[in-house]
């Protein structure tokens, strides 16, 4: 559940706030430190948890700050623009802004964006974007104009999308809005016009955005009080320049129909947005947290002294001007669920230890872009050429593009390199494998078997992460791959398990011979090596009356006969070791009976018999030793074997009854089970005797009604 905690004031504001509020609040390089820029001349660095300013810098009288100060996370320096064109870069230790590094640019800056993991970007009024390093290398370089005349940038946001920086900015011209998405890995600028839909009268007031996996979800607050969502694709599918995007209603009447300026919204995470503005019922301003998934109001807080209509959200804190004070409202959010949204979820967590439950997967984790340290950067700053300024294409991205069009061999080599270099996280592996499988589908000749095997062996994959993989392997009868998948994936659906079983049973011995299959779970390899070539014997059918068939009463006799009998019949494994290894994989797999049973019915009768024979064989082998285990590495356990015998019999009861091949097998199985039962009943009797003995032992300790004992007191 999302919750707002008690607010606190950062400063009773010596900041020169105009009626328009602050210029901006931006995070600094240390957690909990924030740069606050006011509308006139001052930048203040606050430590939020201590509620105190750590430093304050002002530009000279007559100069005016035009864009909020940001922190260059790579160097730890602060950057600010005053008088539209003058860039200042300074350190915490610097006192006078007049004496710090200065660069005068050739065009007016709209805003500088800086986020963790990448260099700051400078967005010019004309829509052009430059990396800071490139700009500083040649401050007077010519800045082109991207947007048309009369178009004004209204809102901007800088993201990391799969470790690639992406800048989104919204412009307005004659009441129409346009979205520009600048991807820096591809230097690709896409323009979209935002289509309002039916509600033509309403005016879009404010925007916020959140990056989903494939889309940038742009949320806009409209003057009719509703929140709309527009999805902007991250990777534009076609290169057509001006695409139209239609917005959809996300949240109705989040704030009252307003024309005033003091409404805004901010995306908190994929499910929650914060809306600042008067709610429908009252005229007082309110900070409300909405769950957009369930469209419920999670919490709200009245702000009676009014706000400037600005809201910033970083980490766990919401910043706003409340009255004249810069106010921080800590925001915590649990995993949102229906139960939580309906208030049915128990609030078990200690509020003190609660952490936000979303993780910024897009956040760089020290690899990928790789941030050069500040010293280097500073030296490099002026030397770098424009060519090298483009963010490096990360290895995974490179690999992905290789996957798209490289040859099988080349991909394999690249993949090996990549895996050797990076510890794989499941996003990248997932992307790579999806790419590979996609290509497999598209090009029937393309089947990068080794790559897939390598990827599976990274242990990060699961069935749900690459649903196509096992299907592809099934299509191509790649039993080796299937064996590996069965071993590695924890979440294989029963359909697929059953399909695998079907294939393992039906695939010809000849085709198995050629494959390299891990047979470590098959212990009797050497015993049966010589039999490998032996063809599966056709079942010997006994004609007519079988005296053993219904001699239920002669169990004792059976018991005596059985050992020789069974060894004779089943010393030979009914399947070749490779097949046995595959089947063992099936026996080990997790399943739920209800889901498995219907699929087992589809297996042909011949295969069922074979499988039963194999299970019977394993069962006999198991019973050979007292511990009821099979030798070998990861052999099937007795209970697995028993469960599968039951499953197979349950699913195909009539079939096995009908087919003559199974008859003898069933009789043998029955006899064996029967003899086992009689053994166990004998064991039962012994157990009772032992229990009595144990009881007697205990009674001895219980001492009876009277005894004389020795006691020594210490």
């Amino acid at each position: 559940m999302a919750a707002l905690e008690d607010e606190f004031t950062l400063s009773a504001l010596a900041l020169g706030t105009g009626p328009d509020g602050l210029l901006g609040v931006e995070p600094s390089d240390k957690t909990d430190h924030f740069l606050v820029t006011d509308r006139s001349r001052t930048v203040v660095l606050y430590k939020v948890s201590d509620q105190k300013p750590l430093g304050s810098w002002s530009v000279k009288q007559g100069q005016i700050i035009t864009c909020p100060a940001v922190c260059n996370f790579q160097t730890g320096e602060h950057i600010v623009v005053h008088d539209n064109k003058v860039l200042r870069i300074w350190n915490n230790e610097d006192v006078n802004l007049d004496k710090v590094f200065k660069a005068t640019l050739s065009a007016e800056v709209h805003k500088i964006h800086s986020i963790q993991g990448t260099e700051p970007l400078v967005l010019f009024r004309g829509g052009a974007v430059r990396g800071l390093e490139a700009l500083l290398a040649e401050p007077q370089q010519k800045i082109e104009t991207v947007i048309s005349d009369g178009e004004v940038i209204k809102w901007t946001k800088f993201f990391m999308v799969f470790r690639h920086p992406a800048l989104v900015f919204i412009t307005e011209k004659d009441g129409n809005h346009f979205a520009y998405v600048q991807m820096f890995n591809s230097q690709n600028l896409s323009k979209y016009s935002l289509f309002l839909g039916q509600e033509e009268k309403s005016v879009t007031l404010n925007f916020t955005a959140y990056v989903d996996r494939k889309f940038i979800s742009l949320m806009s607050l409209s003057s009719d009080g509703c929140v709309y969502e527009t999805l902007i694709p991250i990777y534009p599918s076609d290169t057509e320049k001006n695409q139209r995007l239609v917005r959809s209603l996300l949240l109705k009447a989040a704030v009252s129909g307003i024309t005033r300026n003091s409404v805004t919204l901010t995306a908190l995470d994929q499910d929650h947005i914060a809306v600042l503005g008067p709610p429908l019922s009252s005229a007082k301003e309110c900070l409300s947290i909405w769950n957009i998934k369930f469209q419920t109001l999670q919490t709200s807080k009245e702000l009676p002294q009014g706000t400037s209509g600005q809201l910033w959200f970083y980490g766990e804190n919401l910043f706003m001007l409340h009255g004249k004070c810069l106010t921080v409202v800590p925001y915590k959010c649990g995993v949102s669920s229906l139960a939580g949204a309906l208030g049915k979820l128990k609030h078990t967590q200690d509020p003190g230890t609660q952490k936000p439950h979303f993780v910024n997967w897009e956040m760089s984790q020290g690899c990928g872009l790789g941030s050069p340290n500040s010293e280097q950067s500073r030296i490099l700053r002026r030397k770098k050429t424009e060519a090298s300024l483009q963010p490096e294409v990360p290895a995974s991205e490179q690999l992905l593009s290789t996957v798209k069009n490289g040859s099988e061999k080349y991909i394999e080599v690249e993949l090996r390199k990549f895996l050797a270099k990076w510890t794989p996280d499941f996003h990248t592996i997932g992307d790579i494998i999806t790419g590979l499988l996609g290509r497999c589908k598209a090009e029937p000749s393309f089947y990068p078997r080794n790559c897939l095997m390598q990827l599976i062996q990274t242990h990060v994959l699961s069935y749900s992460l690459c649903p196509g993989l096992m299907d592809t392997a099934l299509e191509r009868k790649d039993v080796q791959m299937l064996q590996l998948c069965l071993q590695q994936f924890p979440d294989i659906p029963e359909t697929v398990t059953c399909a695998c079983l079907k294939m393992f049973l039906s695939i010809g011995d000849d085709s198995l011979q050629g494959m390299s299959i891990n047979v470590e779970s098959v212990f009797y390899y050497s015993n049966t090596e010589q039999d490998e070539k032996m063809k599966e014997q056709p079942e010997i059918l006994q004609n007519g009356f079988n005296p053993e068939e219904n001699n239920c009463s002669n169990c004792k006799q059976d018991l005596n006969e059985k050992p020789q009998d069974s060894t004779e019949e089943t010393a030979l494994c009914p399947v070749i070791p490779k097949r046995a290894a595959l089947l063992n994989g099936i026996l080990h797999s997790a399943y739920s009976e209800t889901f498995l049973l219907p699929h087992l019915k589809d297996i042909p009768a011949q295969d069922i018999t074979l499988f039963l024979q194999y299970l019977y064989f394993l069962y006999l082998k198991c019973s050979e030793n007292a511990a009821m285990t099979l030798p070998g590495i990861r052999p099937p356990t007795l209970s697995q074997i028993m469960d599968w015998i039951c499953l197979i019999l349950d699913a195909n009861f009539t079939v096995v009854l009908m087919i003559p091949e199974a008859k003898r097998l069933l009789i043998n199985l029955y006899k064996f089970v029967k003899s086992q039962i009689s053994v166990y009943s004998e064991l039962n009797k012994i157990e009772v005797s032992f229990r009595e003995l144990q009881k007697l032992n205990q009674e001895k300790n219980n001492r009876g009604l009277y005894s004389i004992e020795v006691l020594e007191l210490f």
Partner: protein, 656 residues
């Protein structure tokens, strides 16, 4: 410290009777408990839950209802159709009065305490006025068609809330007009008495809900079920700051294995009792202000008085049951062994005698003389004295008839060490001394109670030299009489907590007194003052673990050869206090069951303290020294008691 041969006796086949009723008195913080054999016990909840008084049972008197009225007067009613009032001073039955309505199933006092109301078998409800020294029939309420009336909490209104074929086992009438009923269908139901409508119903058990008790504030009540579960219901606000309140089932407790026949609600605790014979006092943690020992769960199973006496000379044990006595001779062994060894018996214990009482009354007290040739016991109306003759293995019993008329009933009987005198504490507060002669007796003297007091003496102790007799009642101090000069010698200053055990040490004639708050005092009779050791103990204080024990010391004895040793025991431990050793402080380990093997002598000497405790024998009903190297311990394992109870309601458990 010493090595002993311990006769570990488990053949005392004592089963406490089940609990039928409990009644809590808020004024005196006392709890009256009636058992299925008609015994009524009074527990002083302020005095560490000590069972300070008891009224012996009677075969024909099955107590079905128990209540306090008019302050601290205790009444009971039962299936013999009589209402009884108990004399809490003289520990006697004041009077009994027939209600003339057949067996009485329920009784309740009016809230003011001025009237008693009984529900009779014939369906009538009878109102009695409580006069200062009796009760007086006032009126009879109309006979109802259904004959079973269970309980009425407030007079003049009868709520017919029976449903289907189920039995309403109890009702409670709250001052806001809510009636709460508990019934055999396992339901607790709330009714509106004005409209007669069901307001709410809680199904809490698969078996009968048999009892209900409401707190005085009417903000909480407790019910007990036949499954042994006790449920606590509380009136709580619907939301945190609304005035609207509702009854909510808050806590279930499972401290019983059998039917919870009765419950009571003290301001700070839920009290329950039933067929499994345990009296359970479960403190409500939210009501307990200080986290002291009162905040602990209490389970009282055994009486806080001795049921066993012992003849040291002949190694006999006399066991007291409700209606008979058993005399056993201990076995013997010639073997020796080391700590923990069980020695082979050369002779097993013998059951010598099974003496049944005549009449329906329960035995109050019993005693066997140290020499083993005299045996005495008392019921509520008679004292019996027997002479035992031993001829080889045969034993013959001779009843001494013609006991003097004043020996009507004894609360405590004690033989002198040389078995020549018999001391009898009668329930009128007087102490009789009787000289025993071969086959006859002679009344020597009677110490009359202090003028004006009628408090019964329940504990007696005589000095081994026979010169001193100490007697203690419930509240006043311990009186010490000079037996030679037949006069009161001194009175030990009264202490806040009742005495649980008394004994006079040989030679020194120091009187050792144990109180229910676990304090132990030593008082020198000749010097008429507390001994130096006792003063030291009081100065330093007992170890906190000693004070936290929850059963009283029921017996004190002395080592014949080691004058510094005091032996005492409660139900869960037995202790030898060596007065020559330093007292333990709160930092030392009070109970160390392991022999100090590895430590040096220095260390051992440094850590050794006066309290040598053994917890091997439990529950311990009796322990005494037979001679300087032999102890006898009478245990009564709970499992053996449970085995003799009726089977509990079988609950379906998964997998069974």
């Amino acid at each position: 410290m010493g090595e002993f041969k311990v006769h570990r006796v488990r053949f005392f086949n004592y089963v406490p009777p089940g609990i039928r009723c409990v009644a809590y008195n808020n004024q005196s913080n006392r709890l009256a408990v009636s058992r299925t054999d008609g015994t009524v016990e009074i527990y002083n909840l302020s005095a560490n839950y000590f069972q300070e008084k008891f009224f012996p049972g009677h075969e024909s008197r099955s107590t079905e209802a128990l209540c306090w009225a008019e302050g601290q007067r205790l009444f009971s009613a039962g299936l013999n159709g009589e209402i009884l009032e108990y004399d809490l001073q003289a520990l006697d039955i004041k009077y009994s009065m027939d209600a003339f309505g057949g067996p009485i199933w329920s009784m309740i006092a009016s809230p003011s305490g001025s009237h008693l109301l009984v529900g009779c078998e014939d369906g009538s409800v009878k109102l009695f006025q409580i006069t200062p020294d009796k009760i007086q029939f006032e009126r009879n309420f109309d006979r109802q068609k259904s004959s079973a009336i269970q309980k009425m909490i407030v007079d003049r209104q009868y709520m017919g809330v029976s449903k289907r074929k189920c039995i309403v086992w109890g009702v409670a009438f709250l001052s806001d007009g809510t009636v709460i009923s508990v019934d055999s269908a396992g339901k607790v139901q709330f009714w509106d008495s004005a409209s007669g409508t069901l307001v709410k119903s809680h199904l809490i058990a698969n078996a009968d809900v048999q009892s209900i008790a409401v707190a005085d504030q009417e903000d909480s009540f407790v019910v007990g079920t036949a499954e042994g579960t006790v449920f606590h219901f509380q009136l709580v606000s619907v939301t945190s700051n609304s005035t609207e309140k509702q009854w909510v089932r808050t806590k279930p407790f499972q401290h019983h294995t059998h039917d919870v026949r009765t419950v009571a609600h003290s301001p700070t605790a839920l009290i329950s009792g039933g067929t499994d014979t345990h009296l359970v006092i479960r403190p409500l943690m939210e009501k307990v202000e200080v986290k002291n020992y009162d905040a602990a769960l209490r389970k009282i199973t055994f009486p806080h008085r001795r049921l066993v006496s012992c003849s040291k000379k002949r190694q006999l044990l006399l066991f007291q049951f409700a209606h008979h006595l058993e005399l056993w001779r201990l076995g013997s062994t010639v073997a020796t062994g080391k700590n923990g060894d069980i020695l082979p018996l050369s002779k097993n214990a013998d059951h010598l005698l099974h003496l049944k009482t005549k009449g329906p009354e329960n035995i109050i007290c019993s005693s066997i003389s140290p020499c083993g040739s005299w045996l005495a016991y008392s019921t509520a109306s008679r004292v019996f004295l027997y002479r035992l003759n031993y001829e080889h293995d045969n034993i013959s019993l001779q009843r001494i008839s013609k006991m003097p008329a004043f020996l009507r009933s004894a609360l405590q009987i004690l033989f002198s060490e040389d078995s020549t005198k018999l001391f009898v504490a009668s329930n009128q507060g007087s102490l009789h001394i009787i000289r025993l002669l071969e086959g006859s007796f002679k009344h020597l003297h009677t110490f009359q109670p202090q003028s004006g007091t009628v408090e019964a003496m329940c504990l007696l102790a005589v000095s081994p030299d026979g010169n001193w007799l100490a007697a203690s009642g419930n509240s006043a101090g311990v009186h010490v009489y000079n037996v030679k000069h037949l006069k009161l010698h001194c009175t030990v200053p009264a202490y806040n907590f009742p005495v649980t055990a008394l004994a006079i040490a040989p030679n020194t004639n120091n009187l050792v007194i144990a109180h229910s708050d676990q304090q132990v005092f030593e008082y020198s009779i000749p010097e008429k003052q507390y001994t130096e050791w006792s003063r030291n103990v009081q100065k330093q204080g007992f170890h906190h673990l000693w004070l936290q024990r929850d059963t009283p010391i029921t017996h004190i004895s002395f080592h014949p050869k080691r004058p510094t040793h005091i032996l005492l025991h409660d139900a869960y431990m037995f202790c030898i206090i060596d007065k020559s050793l330093p007292l333990p402080n709160d930092k030392t380990v009070l109970y160390n069951p392991l022999p100090p093997t590895n430590e040096s002598d220095v260390f051992r000497r440094r850590t050794a303290h006066a309290f040598k405790i053994s917890k091997i024998y439990k529950p311990l009903l009796f322990m005494d020294l037979l001679d300087e190297r032999t102890l006898v311990a009478v245990e009564r394992p709970l499992d053996d008691i449970i085995a003799q109870l009726p089977p509990p309601i079988k609950k379906k458990k998964f997998g069974t």
